[in-house]
Structures are given as structure tokens and as C-alpha cells.
């Protein structure tokens, strides 16, 4: 009887004889990947790299990559190009001069590298149509919470913006570091690097969530950004930066957030990360920044000093 059962089971188990076949995707050509959210206040960075096929281990080493930005047919002065040849293997192009880009103006970036089709990417800096009416901090010791309130006047038309906290005064000339690429310091009026994430604005990236005007029906809104008092990172110089940005930036941010949250979930629907690069991938767009003082800023708790920066130090 057991033999019969074994035979039947064997026949049935044939169903489970799954086999694996391979699907070829070798015909997909690599693309130039361009990333940069430029502003009217900062030195800016445009990162350029090449995509790789999933079966390749390393990103391609671009040969002679170039980025030029044109305004009304004239090329704008650009700064250094530096190369990070670690895993990412990308190039950073620096726009060094302050106020290189102007609110409401249209530009075109030309990006090229040997072996890739040159890209021409139009972009613009939006006009200011948002206003922070008041920004203040309140503490709630009973819940060990502290909130930053931002009261804003929203426009009738569509608008997209980030709210970023930074620990530097807008009135001072300050040094600014370009991480991963260079430890060279540049001087600017307003650096907003490394800000929003410390306040947990919805996620943990170095910049904050991009909001859309369409999220609210009202014209005046108050946003509340919470954190635990015990984890507060407010400092005396903390200011609030309102970055008015573009729909392209909003769509990129939204899709990228979706992607990073779900990438390891096999059941999750695939996420197509937005790109506004014709013939390429990535995001290149402009923004304008306004700095506001935060009222009612509590005293900052004491923190141990952060260790020195120890990242890669590659110079081209």
C-alpha cells in the first residue's frame, strides 16, 4: 500500500517540479543620469553618471563628461568637476557662483559624455508665490514633544515647496562643504544642507518632503513638524528655509519616496521614479529659496561633539 501511495505522491509531486528559465534584457542601452535641484541662493551641484544594466556590477566610468548651462543662448560659468569613483562612479559639476540662476528664468543644460547621446534639458526657476507668515516653536513637556509651526500663505495657483531647517544664518558668509566629492569649502550666504531630516519631516532624507499646493483647500495653512524634546536638534541659529520648487521636483520626490519605501517588498507594486530628462534619467530642475527667522526658539540641549568628517577625499 505504501508503494502505491508513494507512486501517487510522486506523480503529484511532479507539479512541484518548478524549473527556472532566464529572461534576457541585454538589449537595453545605458542612459546618462543627471541629478540636480538648483537654486538661486546656493552654489549648485549637478551629478552626472551612467546607468548600468542589472546584470552589471559597476556603473560605467564616463569618459569626458561635460555639463554646460545656457541662458538666452549664452553659457554660464561653471566651477570644478570632481569625480567620485567609488561604487557610484559619478561626476559632480559645481556651479560656484552665488545667484548664478535667477527666479522665473528659463535655462537649458547640455550634458554629454563619450558613447552617450548628448542631452539637452530645459529647466526653469519658479517665481516666488509662497510666503511664510510666521514660524515658531512650542514645547509640550507632558508628551516630551516639541513642534515647529509654520504658518503659510499659499497662492491661488499651483505651487510646490519644501520646508527646510538650517542651522546657519542667512546674513553671514559661511563655508559650505560638498560631501562625497570634495572637502573643498566654498563661501555662500545660505546653506541648507543637512536640515529637514533631523526634524523627521515625514521621512529620513537629507532634504524635506516636497509639498504640493493641492494638498490644502485653504489659502492660509499651518504646518506642524513634531519631534521629541529629547531628540531635539534646534540650535540658536536655526532658521527656516522655504524652497519654492517645481512640479517636476514634486513628482520626482513623491515617486522616489515611494520607491525607497517599497523597494524590498516583493508584493509591492513597482514604482517608476519620475524623470524630466529627455532621453536620459534623473531630475534637473530649479528652485528659489527664502529664509525666515524662527520665533520662540528654545535653548538647545547639550550634545556631544560630532566626530570629524571621515568620508572619501577624492580629487580629480
Amino acid at each position: 500500500m505504501k508503494k502505491i501511495l508513494f507512486f501517487i505522491l510522486g506523480a503529484v509531486m511532479m507539479v512541484a517540479c518548478e524549473s527556472v528559465i532566464h529572461i534576457d534584457i541585454s538589449s537595453m542601452e545605458p542612459l546618462l543620469v543627471v541629478n540636480g535641484v538648483l537654486s538661486d541662493r546656493d552654489p549648485f551641484v549637478i551629478n552626472v553618471s551612467g546607468s548600468k544594466r542589472p546584470q552589471e556590477n559597476d556603473y560605467p566610468d564616463l569618459k569626458n563628461p561635460q555639463v554646460r548651462i545656457f541662458h538666452e543662448g549664452k553659457a554660464l560659468p561653471m566651477g570644478d568637476r570632481c569625480h567620485s569613483d567609488g561604487y557610484y562612479n559619478d561626476y559632480s559639476f559645481l556651479g560656484l557662483e552665488e545667484s548664478l540662476l535667477k527666479e522665473g528664468e528659463r535655462y537649458e543644460a547640455e550634458v554629454s559624455a563619450e558613447g552617450f547621446k548628448p542631452l539637452r534639458i530645459p529647466f526653469e526657476l519658479p517665481e516666488r508665490n509662497l510666503e511664510v507668515l510666521r514660524a515658531w516653536v512650542e514645547e509640550f513637556p507632558e508628551t516630551n514633544e516639541r513642534s515647529l509651526f509654520v504658518k503659510m500663505q499659499l497662492p491661488q495657483t499651483s505651487a510646490y515647496f519644501e520646508i527646510i531647517l538650517h542651522n546657519l544664518s542667512s546674513d553671514e558668509k559661511l563655508d559650505w562643504e560638498i560631501p562625497f566629492c570634495s572637502r573643498r569649502k566654498y563661501t555662500t550666504k545660505a546653506a541648507y544642507w543637512q536640515a529637514g531630516f533631523e526634524f523627521g519631516v515625514d521621512d529620513y532624507r537629507d532634504h524635506a518632503t516636497v509639498f504640493s499646493r493641492e494638498m490644502w483647500e485653504e489659502d492660509i495653512v499651518t504646518l506642524e513638524i513634531k519631534q521629541l524634546i529629547s531628540g531635539a536638534h534646534f540650535k540658536e541659529e536655526t532658521h527656516l528655509a522655504l524652497r519654492t520648487t517645481t512640479e517636476a521636483h514634486y513628482r520626482y520626490d513623491l515617486s522616489f519616496r515611494n520607491y525607497s519605501f517599497s523597494k524590498d517588498n516583493i508584493l509591492a507594486e513597482p514604482v517608476n521614479v519620475y524623470s524630466n530628462i529627455p532621453g536620459g534619467a534623473g531630475i534637473l530642475t530649479g528652485s528659489v529659496i527664502d529664509i525666515y527667522e524662527i520665533e520662540n526658539l528654545p535653548e538647545a540641549p547639550e550634545y556631544p561633539e560630532e566626530p570629524d568628517y571621515w568620508g572619501p577625499d577624492y580629487w580629480e
Partner: protein
């Protein structure tokens, strides 16, 4: 209070007034011959049988309960009663007054062709387009996986119907989703019509009388889904003698018994089926482990004739799938369980108000539940802790429906009726309990949602001219959910122009609305798919379909060529990055609404009579979706967008004892999303991985699907009845069709791994009936 809106109440009054008015108009100066047609041997009603008066040239067709009504001028009549596969009956008499004429036709395999010049119910003569009737005999002959005859798998072989992934019984009709099919078992909607993760359907062929597929030009009596109607009618049970049938197969066995409770007055049929993979595997499992899977289902139906005018039916279905596993050790006990199933019940009362007015009042209950859970008890460190997680979803319907068939004259066949449905949705709830820290965790997902749906319809199958017929109707549905009314008026029109006896042109337009959605993963079709209601945020689905076609018969072959365009609004999909595994969110936050459209051409060549029967189907189609929040707002191909789809089904009688059947299917590969490139994210993204670039949603095509199945049947008459051995081979040439593609690139294999499930699978089953 759930009061229907004014227009719904008016439609009820209108229907009653309509009936009274027509009754007055047509009751004079005509006589009506009416009655039931049934099988002489079993008493089963013959659905769609023809009644034709040669003298007046008028005819009628039996309805779903075998009832016909032919109203003509008083005169002598020469009536022919015919049905495919049955001997014709002829009655000649002088008809001065209305007469009830119930007849039992004898099946006769030698007389399969109708020789009378009567209206036929073949493809050219049907007013209804995009409709295919599947004879059960054909269904039973089609080779099947593990020899298990499957109605839905046979429907997948028809043009315009796409199957889902390998081996599954999902149906994708004319670009629609699996939720857009109204699958009716004796008039009661089924929400999950599959067993074993979709490899088998819930329909036990031994309990089925008839199956109709409607892909477009929907009559107004149908509503609630926007892509198709699969109307499965159960047998009523032999009212003459006891009869049994059964089958023993490799993985399952089934048995059915039918017979009279009181001869020619009442009958019953009971059937059951169970798989026994779990029982076979049990002796081979390690002592402290358990794992298994089984499903079972039972159908039962009882019917009673309460005089000449009334009949009462009770029918039900109960089916369950259960998968389980677990381990037991000194340190922990672990149990995992998964089950889902449908329970259907219906009470139906047929009543003849008069010779021209037939009614059917029914009350239905449909309950679909899915539940998965695990239980963990660990004893590490001498302390005992327990944790219990349950995820459940389900939907319950309570339906009251009243249908009328009113046949005032041979030119008009009017159907009207009304229905109210109470839906109770449980769209996915997690319940997690545990000791100590876990005791505080009790996560509930989405709240239960109730809705009411009121429907009224009227349709007239109108013979405008000898060559020109139409079915014109309207379905009005009012859905009440979360203090919000969703009304919809859905016009339906089908027209047929008969060029000659063998050739017709047809056209149709139908609007269908659907007040519920199915949230399904684009990667899998699992019972975890959630049925969810429309809400204030998620609007009802709306479908518009236009179709144009021609049908003709030549010799023993019937040809049909149809083109269609279908537009669907408010279809729902998971947002990018979302999945059903959402612990504490509301499902409404996970989905987005968009639009869909599809168009295509379908060719069907059928041979219904002779030693060799079968069909060839070919579909060319395109099916697209567009959502503002998916694929960056760009339109993309539907997962089952299949440019070419071919199916060939051949059944051949080799002699009195032997028959051979074969199928061949070919379909363009499914559209899937696979990373085609990888990018590095911006330096400030705070994200250390890489970005997969898909080249757009569903931009990649799986390899084409094709497969051939064969089966050989040997039938022998025995003293006690009939037995047959069925030897079948699934996937004869061992094609490795893709079931699932792992979306994560495998650097080890240097590609994407695609899992194939079913190699060549021979099987044998033993069937008997007495």
C-alpha cells in the same frame, strides 16, 4: 435610513403599470400556447429550446426554467419543438383557446441536426451578440489539468477571454479585470470562483446543466459587473429515477447523486468533491511536522412542483480551501493556516401569473471569506509566550430579486424586474494578540463597510421585422454607501439584421456599472485580493462597450467575427509601491483610480455536430490602462494585454467506445514590469541603494505562452451503468510556460529567474455513472 431614492421607487411603480397595461392590450383576440420543455429521461428543463408554428411562422424560445409562451391568432397550429441533440416533437391541433403544453423531448444522438425550417438558436439567428453557450458535453471532453474538468478553463479557450498566469482559472474578458466578471451560480454571484490558488474552479461539472458566457451587448437583466457575465445553471436533479455519477482522479474524487423525491413532482441533486493531497502526504511527514492542502465543495439543489403554476427551488453551494503547516518542538509550537471559501444559498419561487407572464422571486445569500493566520507558542528560557496573528477579509451579500418574463406576442419578449442587495465588506483586517508586550498590540485594518444596492431593469427582445430584431433595455442601479448615493442609468441595445437564413450582422452598445472593486497585486492573483466597496472617495466603475459583428453558418460550421471597443472609467489599482500587506492603513489610501480601454477583433469558428466537434478561436486585442498616479501618468499596457490569442479545441469520436480530444493554445506573453536599468540616486537622497528603472509599467513581455493537451477516453456500458477511463496529458510537449518572474535580478544566474510550474503531466481518472 436606507430608503431608495425617488427614481428607484418610481421605476417600481412604472414596471407594475407597464405590466398591467400590456396585459390589457394583448390579452384580447389571441391565444397563447405555453408550457415547459424538459428532458424525457431526467426531467431537466431545456433552456433555449425552440417552439415553432409552421402555419403562422411564429416561434418562441424557452427561458432559463424551460418555460415558453407563444401567442398567436386562433387557428390550427403545426408546432415543432426542437433542441440540439434531441428528437423533434411535432404537435398539430386546432387552437381555439389558450393551452398549456408541457413536453418532454427525448435525446437522440442520431438526430443531431434540425430538419425543420424553424428559427434556430445558432450564432447567426441569436439577437444577443458576444454570447457563447457552452454545452456541458463539450466542457467534459476538453482535456484538463490532472483530469479535473474545469468550466472556467474551458471558457478561457474562447475568443475574447484571456487566461491569467499559467494554470490559473482567472478570466480577463476583453481587457477587463478578474473582478469585472459577474459569475453566477444559479443566479447567485460568486466572489472567488477558484480553488487551489486558482488552478481549479469551484464548479463541479457533474452538478452543472448549462453555462453561458456574455462578453458584450449585455441584456439589461444583468448588472453589477462591467466586463462579462458567466451564467452557470445547476442541474435540477432527475425527477424520474435515481442516478449517480462519480470520478476518481489522481488528486481528487467526486460523486453526485440525483433522483426524485416524488416522481415528476420533486427532485434533488447533491454532489461533492474533495482533493486528497494532504491525506496522501500525511504518512510521509516527519512526526513533529505537518503540512498539507485540500479543498472540498458540495452542491445541493432541491426543487418542488407546487401545482401547475408554482415551483420552488432550494439550492446551495459550500466550498472551502485549506492550507496548513506547523512544527512542534521542545522550544516552540508553530501553526500556520490559510483558508478561503464561498457559501451560497438561494430560495427561488417560480410562479406563472398567466400564460404570458412568468415570474421568479428569489432570495440569495453569498458569503466569501478569506483568512490567514499563524499561532506561535515559544518556551525559550522556561517562559511561555504566545502570539496569534490573523488576517481576514470577506464579503457578504443578501439579495432579494424579483424577475418577470412577459411574452405578449411573438414580436416581444419583455423582461423586467428589480433587486436589492445588502453588501457587507470586510476589506482586510489584521488582528494580532500576544502575551506581555504583544498583548497591547491589536492592530485593526480597514473598517467594515455596508452598502445597499437597488436595481430595476426592463428589456424587450423585439422582433421589429422578419429580418431585424433588437434587444433594447435599461438598467437603473442606485447604490447607497457611507451616506452617499451613486445612481446610474445604464442603457443597453443589441440589434441583429438577418441578411439571409445563414448570415447576420449584429451591433450592440452597453453601459455597465460596478459598485465594488477588487484590489489585486500586479504580480500575483491570490485569495488575498480584497473585495472593497465604492466609497465617498473611490467611485463606481463604469464600462461602455460598442461591438459590431457578423455571423454566418455554412454546412456544419458556424462563423463569428466581432470587433469591439470598450472604455472603462474609475478602475482601481494599487498605487505604486503599495501592497495588500498594509498593517494599519486604510485601503483607500493604497489605491488610485484611472481609466482603461481595450479594443480587438475576435474570430470564432465552431463545429457543433458530427463526429468531430470543437472550435477555433482567434483574438487580436489591445488593452491599456491610464492612472494619474501610476507610470507617471502615462498610459501603459494592461498586464494581460495580449495581442494574439489562439485556441483550438477538437473532440473526435473514434468509435462507439473511444474518443480523442485535444486543445492547443497560444498567447502573446503577459506584460510585466522588470527593472531594465539601474541608476544611482542623487547624492542628497540619503538612500544608499540604487534605483531600478522599469522603462515604464508593464514594458516587458514574458515569453509567449503555448501549450497542447490531449485526452483519450474509453467508455464502456456495464450492467450497472457506464464507466469511462480518461487518460490525459497536460502540456504534451513540455513547454516551460512562465508562472512568475522574480523581480529581483539574480547575479548568480545572470538574469531574471522565471519560475515555470507545470511540465508535461499525465493523469488518469476513472469515471462512472449509473
Amino acid at each position: 435610513m436606507l430608503r431608495p431614492p425617488l427614481i428607484a421607487r418610481f421605476s417600481f411603480v412604472f414596471i407594475i403599470a407597464f405590466f398591467i397595461l400590456f396585459k390589457g392590450v394583448f390579452a384580447q383576440s389571441k391565444i397563447t400556447i405555453s408550457g415547459y420543455l424538459s428532458d424525457a429521461r431526467t426531467g431537466e428543463h431545456l433552456i433555449g429550446a425552440s417552439v415553432y408554428d409552421q402555419k403562422s411562422g411564429k416561434g418562441a424560445v424557452t427561458n432559463a426554467y424551460g418555460f415558453y409562451s407563444l401567442t398567436i391568432a386562433p387557428d390550427s397550429v403545426d408546432l415543432y419543438f426542437s433542441y440540439v441533440g434531441y428528437q423533434n416533437e411535432r404537435r398539430q391541433f386546432l387552437a381555439n383557446e389558450s393551452k398549456r403544453l408541457n413536453l418532454r423531448l427525448s435525446s437522440d444522438l442520431l438526430l443531431k441536426e434540425i430538419t425543420v425550417e424553424a428559427p434556430r438558436e445558432d450564432l447567426p439567428s441569436q439577437v444577443q451578440m458576444s454570447t457563447i453557450e457552452l454545452p456541458l458535453a463539450d466542457i467534459k471532453q476538453v482535456p484538463a489539468l490532472f483530469g479535473e474538468v474545469d468550466v472556467l478553463k474551458v471558457i478561457q479557450l474562447l475568443p475574447g477571454v484571456q487566461s491569467g498566469t499559467e494554470g490559473t482559472s482567472g478570466l480577463y474578458v476583453r481587457g477587463g479585470g478578474p473582478d469585472q466578471n459577474l459569475i453566477l451560480l444559479d443566479g447567485v454571484p460568486l466572489y472567488n470562483a477558484s480553488h487551489l490558488l486558482g488552478f481549479f474552479s469551484v464548479f463541479n461539472a457533474d452538478a452543472i446543466n448549462k453555462v453561458d458566457l456574455i462578453k458584450g451587448g449585455f441584456p439589461a437583466r444583468y448588472g453589477g459587473r462591467i466586463s462579462s457575465v458567466i451564467d452557470v445553471k445547476m442541474k435540477e436533479g432527475n425527477d424520474q429515477e435515481f442516478q449517480g455519477a462519480g470520478a476518481v482522479g489522481l488528486i481528487s474524487s467526486k460523486f453526485s447523486l440525483e433522483g426524485p423525491l416524488k416522481k415528476e413532482q420533486s427532485s434533488f441533486i447533491i454532489s461533492g468533491r474533495r482533493t486528497y493531497l494532504d491525506l496522501v502526504a500525511r504518512p510521509f511527514m516527519p512526526k513533529n511536522n505537518k503540512a498539507g492542502y485540500y479543498f472540498y465543495d458540495t452542491n445541493a439543489k432541491f426543487n418542488f412542483k407546487l401545482g401547475d403554476k408554482d415551483r420552488l427551488y432550494f439550492s446551495g453551494y459550500f466550498g472551502r480551501d485549506k492550507g496548513f503547516g506547523g512544527t512542534k518542538s521542545d522550544y516552540e509550537d508553530f501553526d500556520l493556516g490559510l483558508y478561503w471559501g464561498n457559501v451560497l444559498g438561494t430560495v427561488r419561487w417560480n410562479h406563472l401569473f398567466n400564460d404570458r407572464l412568468f415570474s421568479n422571486l428569489s432570495f440569495n445569500v453569498s458569503d466569501y471569506q478569506f483568512r490567514v493566520g499563524f499561532f506561535l507558542k515559544d518556551r525559550y528560557g522556561g517562559e511561555e509566550q504566545e502570539m496569534n496573528l490573523v488576517y481576514l477579509s470577506g464579503i457578504q451579500d443578501y439579495t432579494l430579486r424579483y424577475d418577470f418574463d412577459f411574452i405578449p406576442s411573438p414580436q416581444h419578449y419583455i423582461r423586467f424586474g428589480m433587486q436589492s442587495v445588502f453588501h457587507r465588506f470586510r476589506p482586510g483586517v489584521f488582528d494580532l494578540d500576544g502575551d506581555e508586550d504583544l498583548a497591547e498590540i491589536n492592530i485593526k485594518g480597514s473598517d467594515q463597510v455596508n452598502s445597499m444596492e437597488y436595481t430595476a431593469y426592463v428589456e424587450d427582445e423585439w422582433k421589429i421585422h422578419e429580418r431585424f430584431s433588437a434587444n433594447i433595455g435599461v438598467n437603473a442601479t442606485f447604490n447607497y454607501v457611507q451616506d452617499h448615493w451613486y445612481p446610474s442609468i445604464q442603457p443597453r441595445v443589441s440589434v441583429r439584421y438577418l441578411v439571409n437564413r445563414d448570415w447576420s450582422w449584429k451591433a450592440s452598445y452597453a453601459q455597465m456599472n460596478q459598485n465594488l472593486h477588487l484590489l489585486t497585486s500586479s504580480a500575483f492573483g491570490l485569495p488575498t485580493d480584497l473585495w472593497v466597496p465604492v466609497t465617498q472617495r473611490v467611485k463606481p466603475q463604469e464600462g461602455h462597450q460598442w461591438a459590431l459583428g457578423t455571423a454566418f453558418s455554412k454546412g456544419k460550421l458556424e462563423y463569428s467575427l466581432e470587433g469591439y471597443y470598450k472604455k472603462m472609467n474609475n478602475v482601481v489599482e494599487y498605487r505604486e509601491g503599495a501592497s495588500f500587506f498594509n498593517f494599519n492603513g486604510n485601503w483607500e489610501d493604497l489605491v488610485t483610480s484611472g481609466q482603461a480601454w481595450s479594443y480587438g477583433l475576435e474570430l470564432l469558428i465552431q463545429k457543433k455536430v458530427g463526429k468531430t466537434t470543437g472550435w477555433l478561436g482567434y483574438t487580436w486585442s489591445k488593452s491599456m490602462r491610464q492612472f494619474d498616479d501610476i507610470n507617471l501618468g502615462d498610459a501603459f499596457p494592461y498586464k494581460y494585454d495580449r495581442r494574439h490569442d489562439i485556441s483550438l479545441v477538437v473532440n473526435h469520436e473514434l468509435g462507439k467506445k473511444w474518443s480523442l480530444s485535444g486543445t492547443f493554445v497560444y498567447g502573446t506573453g503577459n506584460a510585466i514590469s522588470l527593472p531594465v536599468r539601474q541608476l544611482q540616486p542623487p547624492a542628497d537622497a540619503g538612500y544608499g541603494g540604487e534605483i531600478n528603472e522599469y522603462g515604464g509599467r508593464n514594458s516587458f513581455r514574458m515569453p509567449a505562452y503555448h501549450r497542447m493537451d490531449l485526452s483519450l477516453t474509453h467508455t464502456k456500458q456495464k450492467r450497472w451503468g457506464e464507466r469511462s477511463w480518461v487518460i490525459s496529458v497536460y502540456n504534451v510537449y513540455n513547454r516551460k510556460n512562465v508562472f512568475f518572474v522574480d523581480p529581483f535580478y539574480s547575479s548568480w544566474s545572470g538574469g531574471y529567474d522565471a519560475v515555470t510550474l507545470f511540465p508535461i503531466i499525465p493523469s488518469i481518472s476513472y469515471n462512472f455513472k449509473f
